[in-house]
Amino acid sequence: MDVIRNSDPNSDLEACLGLDPDGLTRWGISRRQIFQFCAGVAATMGLSSAAGASMAKAVTSPSRPPVIWLHGQECTGCTESLLRAYHPTLESLLLDVISLDYHETLCVGAGEQALAYKRAMMEKHKGKYVLVTEGGTPMKDGGIYCKVGGKTHVEHVREAAAGAAAVIAIGSCASWGGVQSADPNPTGAVGTHSVVPGTTVINIPGCPPNPYNFLSTVIYLLTFKRPPALDAHNRPKFAYGRLIHENCERRPHFDAGRFALEFGDEGHRLGYCLYKIGCKGPETHANCSAIGFGDVGFGSWPVGTGHPCYGCTEKADAFRKPIHALATLQNLTPPTAYPDVSAENGPAIGAGAAVAGLVGGLAVGAGAMWLKQMGSEPDKADASNKEP
């Protein structure tokens, strides 16, 4: 992929917002902070610190790759989630790192003006822009259930994908249809990859996905000009390579057999494992349990707040498998019998003390007798017995 650097810093959008991208610091933060941030991104993706440095170089480069962002059938939760990212904030990412030429929620222009600008930018940067799709695409009845500017979403996606250097599907809806694709799927909603077969679509599923999984993927694309390592469902492995269950803070309860059995019961209030009330953590690949949401620290993710994981990053789970249904365990199955949860505090000192005393006494007594005899015996001498 070859992302063009937009050499004109005064593009219409920025001019419109009165932004000065040539200020002394970019993103309103110092160079050192940018390096720290990129080193952090590289580390969470399992890359070297050298990669962090190249990332910092790529994101601070004055020319920025153009991005076209399309909305389909969705709730805009993914954009909302991105608005709550703080390192970097969405606006600094969108205005300083990339050149967001078209985004239906965030763009200033409206109606025909915005669409004309989109067409112009797609023409100008043909083969070089990044396409981000948010939301599912309805296919039934010619795709008439989602239209923008008189054209169906299918047509918008196909048109934009044709000239895109890379396509990212953000959220579960864009990844495989999401909530509107649940039975009976009245609009025939599908994910972006089914709309443009043959094109590699990087899926960042989640409802909404963690903004940092998206940001890290974008920065990776900018830096290395290729997608990060992907799994069988085209999800970046750095974020979706492990099960929620593997890093869940409630996991010790799972292993010890302490489960909440219904919402609000004793176990639920004590923070026990939610497996038996339908937690899909054991079959869901995502890093929620490791990085949390909203930059507020420990516990800020569904399981942390007491709700079972409902598997939003798995096509087979969210909106398909009932919330109460048990997850299929992929590695350890809990044994049928567990030790008692309320362990006793240890019995009082009992007969053990008597036995210990008896044995100790016997040993000391026998030893003393033995020693007494030793004094009255002559020493058996041999060659090695001379004092040196």
Partner: protein, 379 residues
């Protein structure tokens, strides 16, 4: 120089029968443990997940089994060949101390059937002290059997294995010194995770050093103890001169150990903890008194020369070292909430059974294999 030879005395004696009976009682309770689970026999609980089995059979047992380690250090590393007659009996006690210690861990593992995972490299957690101890002890058990193997092989046709052992004995012996240094210090490191749960009288960053040095001291202690007991029981020459020479070294090591321990207590400003009256403080003083007694006996020439005194010195060393481990692992340790632990009768019987088995096997081996030097005075 005398040559090691089997004693060839009767295998079935009142002593061996009593030992056999004790071992049988232990096995009965073990059977119960494996049929009905740990809770049925042991008093260990969530607060004290380690009881007498781990602390005595493994932590203390392997330290007592350090005779082979201590003598190998002396004979091969410091090249003091004159101590060679003490080498094989020392190795033999180490052999059983360690082998049975490794077996005893299995009694204490709740899910012992998972133990093979330790050996699968892709399941390894190399940052874990316990992992290091487990692997290292397993490796050392193998090394001990190889070190001891010439006793089996002597007088047999030179086979492939014998050639291998002869050729690589230097490497085996080197491992036999390296491995115990590693895991005996790790037994101390293991306590470092306990933090404030361990009384400041024991908790120090020097725990690994204190553990490995005291293991060495106990190793020498058991060599001296054994030499006296065996020579008296079977009417063999007592190697007194050798032992007296050795005891000076041991005395000095003990002094060094005490200096390290007390220097550290002083440097950490925790000596005040040793001035209150409680079970653990009394134990602390007994421990130190035993070590000090041993050091004095071994260093003052008049005491060292006495047979009884020097034997008592060895006993004091063993008792002090054992108590130090017992205190650090159980008595000086307080779980967060109010837990209590005292071994149950079955637990004690299993440990006693294991000790009986060790002594029994030791007797069988010295009677049938060339272990002891000097011709027996009576058959």
């Amino acid at each position: 120089m005398s040559i090691a030879a089997p004693l060839r005395s009767k295998l079935i004696t009142p002593t061996t029968l009593v030992l056999l009976a004790l071992a049988a009682v232990g096995f009965y309770f073990l059977l119960e443990r494996f049929l009905y689970g740990l809770g049925a026999v042991a008093n260990i609980n969530q607060g004290y997940p380690w009881g007498i089995w781990v602390v005595f059979d493994v932590i203390i047992g392997t330290a007592i089994g350090c005779g082979g380690f201590a003598m190998a250090l002396l004979v091969y590393v410091f090249n003091r060949g004159d101590y060679h007659p003490l080498m094989r009996p020392a190795l033999l006690s180490g052999l059983f101390g360690y082998t049975l210690g490794a077996v005893a861990v299995m009694f204490d593992l709740g899910r012992y059937w998972h133990v093979y995972n330790l050996l699968l490299p892709w399941h390894a957690q190399p940052n874990s002290v316990m992992y290091e101890v487990a692997l290292c002890v397993m490796a050392y058990v193998v090394v001990l059997w190889m070190e001891f193997s010439p006793a089996f092989l002597e007088g047999r046709a030179a086979g492939g294995f014998r050639r291998f052992v002869d050729r690589w004995m230097w490497a085996i012996v080197a491992l036999g010194v390296l491995l115990p240094t590693m895991h005996q210090s790790s037994l101390g490191s293991m306590l470092l995770v306990m933090g404030y749960k361990l009384s400041p009288l024991w908790f120090t960053l020097w725990l690994p050093a204190l553990f490995v040095i005291s293991a060495l001291m106990m190793g020498y202690g058991i060599v001296m103890f054994e030499a006296t007991v065996v020579s008296r029981s079977f009417g063999l020459p007592s190697h007194r001169a050798l032992i007296s020479k050795l005891s000076v070294v041991v005395g000095l090591i003990t002094v060094a150990w005490l200096a390290l321990r007390w220097g550290d207590l002083y440097a950490r400003h925790v000596l005040a903890f040793a001035c209150v009256v409680s079970v653990r403080v009394v134990m602390f003083w007994i421990e130190n008194a035993l070590f000090l007694a041993a050091a004095l006996i071994f260093i003052v020439p008049a005491w060292r020369a006495g047979r009884r005194a020097s034997f008592l010195g060895a006993v004091a060393l063993l008792a002090g070292g054992s108590l130090y481990r017992l205190d650090a692992y159980l008595i000086g340790y307080t779980p967060v909430t109010h837990w209590s632990y005292f071994p149950s009768v079955p637990e004690l019987m299993v440990t006693i059974g294991m000790i009986a088995l060790e002594v029994l096997l030791y007797l069988v081996f010295i009677k049938t294999l060339p272990v002891l030097h000097g011709r027996p005075a009576r058959r």
